[in-house]
């Protein structure tokens, strides 16, 4: 066991720290996706290799060879300094990796640079009212008419659709093919005529999701990623990226430390909350769970760094366990506050800006989104434990006869 990153990496860590000391004050805080300040910061990060690090130079990135540990050191140091890192969002984290893998040269040149510079904001058009966990049953159709796809249908859970310039969207182009083979992956401008966006306010009372209605939306024929009918494979490579990024154990650790602070600061009948043995026991139980997930993540990281394929189960469980843990942790934060745990938004008594209340609800959303906990359990039992799939309804009926 060797938990150190080694001298080369510690040198790199020093570089990152020095950058943060010199430039950290320029970072934009709490500004919208469109601020010029944000773009300037992003440009500075790319120039120094702290954003778009492994995107090739010809597409506007920094052009470094992928190095998991360096990426991690950057994330760690930015988090420690509480300086916002490079742009996130579905364009940067999901579309760009997909284009690099499956896009045409023309698509890469056209879309990657503006996306990583924050000039082109994307939303993701996957889920539909009738296609949630069973995403492959989606029905939004695209029919080729001359040089254009004509798209009709409805998308839901479309984060930031109201702010996005473009959408990457799954549509059915081969209605007669088996459901996984009839889907294509289209890119189009959100200003195209025929797109209507309606806000879908979530339980935190924030507007980040939308419903998107598509009526005779005309999309140039070449704005397809991959071949016709291959959209499912394209989408799956992206979902892999999404699952890896949820329930980050280091963020969970930071939140646990906030919980302990809260328990030390707040009082009940004049005694510190932490001095209540029942609540203290619950906090310690939570700490054990947080530690378990941290070490699990360390194992997954090491397995990736050393190119070993020996942590499959450890990787498969991270979305399920990470989001459930975080939801429970934030809920414990509310519990230890008693009635104060009710305070929210602009209540003058609210603690920690209402972050425990907000995250408690937000992580319930993440338990459901990106593959529900129940879908995760199917994946774990099938891919991790080798258990059989549930027979399809038709198979089950045929067997019965």
């Amino acid at each position: 066991m060797d938990l150190s990153y080694g001298p080369e990496y510690e040198g790199f860590r020093e570089e990152v720290r020095s950058f943060l000391r010199t430039h950290g004050h320029k970072a934009p805080r709490g500004q919208g996706l469109r601020s010029s300040n944000l773009r300037e910061w992003q440009a500075l990060l790319i120039e120094n290799g702290y954003a778009a690090r492994t995107i090739p130079k010809e597409y506007g990135g920094f052009g470094a060879t992928p190095d998991i540990l360096k990426s991690r050191i950057i994330a760690e140091e930015f988090a420690t300094a509480q300086v916002p890192g490079g742009l996130g969002g579905q364009g940067v984290s999901m579309l760009v990796p997909t284009l690099l893998e499956l896009g045409t040269e023309e698509q890469k040149r056209r879309f990657i640079q503006p996306t990583i510079r924050g000039e082109m904001v994307w939303c993701q058009g996957y889920s539909e009212p009738g296609a949630g966990s069973d995403l492959a049953s989606l029905r939004t159709s695209a029919v080729l008419e001359g040089d254009e796809w004509v798209v009709n249908g409805q998308k839901i859970w479309t984060s930031t659709a109201h702010l996005a310039d473009w959408i990457f969207c799954l549509v059915r182009t081969e209605p007669d093919a088996p459901k996984h083979q009839g889907i294509s992956f289209l890119l189009f401008d959100m200003k195209t005529p025929g797109i209507e966006i309606r806000p879908l306010v979530d339980m935190t009372m924030n507007h980040s999701f939308n419903e998107v209605f598509l009526t005779n939306v005309r999309v140039p024929k070449d704005q397809i990623v991959g071949q016709r009918g291959q959209g499912w494979q394209v989408a799956n490579s992206i979902l892999g990226h999404e699952r890896d990024s949820l329930g980050d154990p280091n963020a969970t650790l930071q939140r646990f430390n906030r919980l302990l602070d809260l328990m030390r600061d707040e009082t009940v009948d004049g005694a510190r909350v932490i001095d209540n043995p029942v609540l203290r026991d619950r906090a310690m139980e939570m700490q054990g769970r947080v530690m378990a997930m941290r070490f699990n993540e360390l194992r997954v990281l090491s397995s990736r760094v050393n190119n070993k394929n020996d942590a499959l189960l450890a990787r498969l469980i991270t979305k399920l366990e990470g989001t459930e843990l975080r939801h429970a942790l934030e809920g414990l934060g509310i519990d230890v506050m008693g009635e104060l745990g009710l305070a929210y938004k602009d209540n003058p008594l609210v603690r920690d800006n209402g972050m425990f209340q907000y995250h408690h609800m937000f992580f319930l959303g993440l338990i459901i989104g990106g593959g529900t906990s129940q879908i995760q359990k199917n994946i774990i039992s099938e891919r991790g434990l080798g258990m059989p799939r549930e027979p399809k309804l038709a198979e089950a009926r045929a067997e019965k006869k």
Binding site: M1, D2, R280, Q287, S302, N306, Q374, E390, K400
Partner: protein
């Protein structure tokens, strides 16, 4: 950076696993539960070098550390193997390495001719008023739940948390077998009446360190036992048919198995980290050991229940024998600190208790 098992560690696991798989199947464990003799199993482990695992090469051992010891403990739990491993191969050598590295006891331990029992139960909160008191180099009093019945010598802690060695044949020592649910770990009650004792350590830190080590080993044992229960549950679910199909195709059953695996898998990394901390990270070792054992005891308890349920009525029978794992996990939970006790310790270590 490397936070995974090395080739050497995998080889160690393979060789111990092969041995246990060929000699320590459930019928052998059942025979032990009736006859109480594990000398062939222990001799086999001694032949593999397990008794000298922690002893330096210069003293004839293999110079390995607590990660490797935890890997062996995991395998013993996986096979519910009766053995004097914890006291003989881990705690006594760990202590002697520290306080008396030239002790001839180490030679006997490596050779497999000395079995060391351990009586540290009272150090985690004495029950029934049990305590050992030292006076003029002699020990008197009572020690409960001492591992194990066949020991040649006992490693005991007194009320001040000093550590002593007492010969099993010493005058004034009486031994009473205590039946427990886990028949793979025979425990005894010792009553000492002015018993000759050799002092091994007089600072409480030495005993705390032994507790840390012991907790990590018991946690590793639970890891092995619980992972085996999941494997058995999955195999059974694939074989057992109801309503015209294997019950492994029902999501209700699959999700039970997935939940078990999702809770247990992070414990594997937790055990490695705790073993590594015992070797290399003195500032973290105690907190990690307390949290590990508390956490895995909770996870293990849920798995012991759930895996039994997946087996339906058969899980409740002696015929299948799943209860050996259920009880092993239960034993590990109670010994050297229950989850509540350990979480309280963890809070104290972090200055969270006024």
């Amino acid at each position: 950076m490397e936070f995974g098992l090395s080739e050497e560690q995998n080889l160690l696991v393979d060789s111990v696993h092969r041995f246990l798989d060929s000699t320590a199947q459930l019928p052998r464990v059942r025979r032990f539960a009736e006859e109480g003799n594990d000398s062939d199993l222990w001799q086999g482990l001694v032949d593999l070098g397990i008794s000298g695992l922690l002893v330096p090469e210069s003293r004839g051992g293999v110079s390995l550390g607590f990660v490797e010891a935890a890997l062996v403990a995991e395998l013993l739990g996986k096979h519910v193997t009766p053995s004097p491993f914890l006291g003989t191969a881990v705690l006594m050598p760990a202590l002697l390495n520290q306080v008396d590295p030239d002790s001839s006891l180490l030679d006997e331990i490596i050779a497999g001719t000395l079995r060391c029992g351990i009586g540290l139960a009272e150090a985690n909160g004495a029950r029934l008023g049990a305590a050992l008191i030292e006076r003029n180099g002699k020990l008197s009093g009572r020690a409960l739940f001492v591992l194990d019945a066949a020991a040649d010598v006992f490693l005991l802690a007194d009320a001040r948390h000093h550590l002593y060695l007492v010969d099993a044949e010493a005058a004034g020592l009486t031994t009473r077998r205590l039946a427990t649910v886990d028949t793979t770990r025979p425990v005894v009650e010792l009553t000492l009446n002015n018993c000759a004792a050799t002092t091994l350590a007089t600072d409480a830190e030495a005993m705390q360190r032994l507790l840390d080590i012991g907790r990590v080993m018991l946690a590793a044992d639970t890891l092995g036992a619980a992972s085996n229960m999941i494997e058995q549950a999955v195999i059974y679910a694939k074989q057992r048919e109801q309503f015209g199909r294997a019950i492994a195709t029902f999501q209700a059953v699959k999700h039970m198995c997935a939940e078990m695996a999702a809770e247990l898998e992070p414990c594997r990394a937790f055990v490695w980290y705790a073993g590594h901390a015992l070797n290399e990270l003195p500032d973290e070792a105690r907190l990690t050991a307390c949290h590990l054992k508390a956490h895995i005891s909770e996870v293990g308890k849920r798995i012991a229940k759930t895996a039994t349920e997946v087996h339906g009525g058969m899980g409740f029978t002696d015929l299948v024998g799943l209860h050996y794992w259920f009880k092993r996990i239960g034993f590990n939970r109670q010994m050297l600190g229950t989850p509540e006790y350990l979480r309280d310790q963890a809070a104290r270590l972090q200055g969270l208790v006024a």
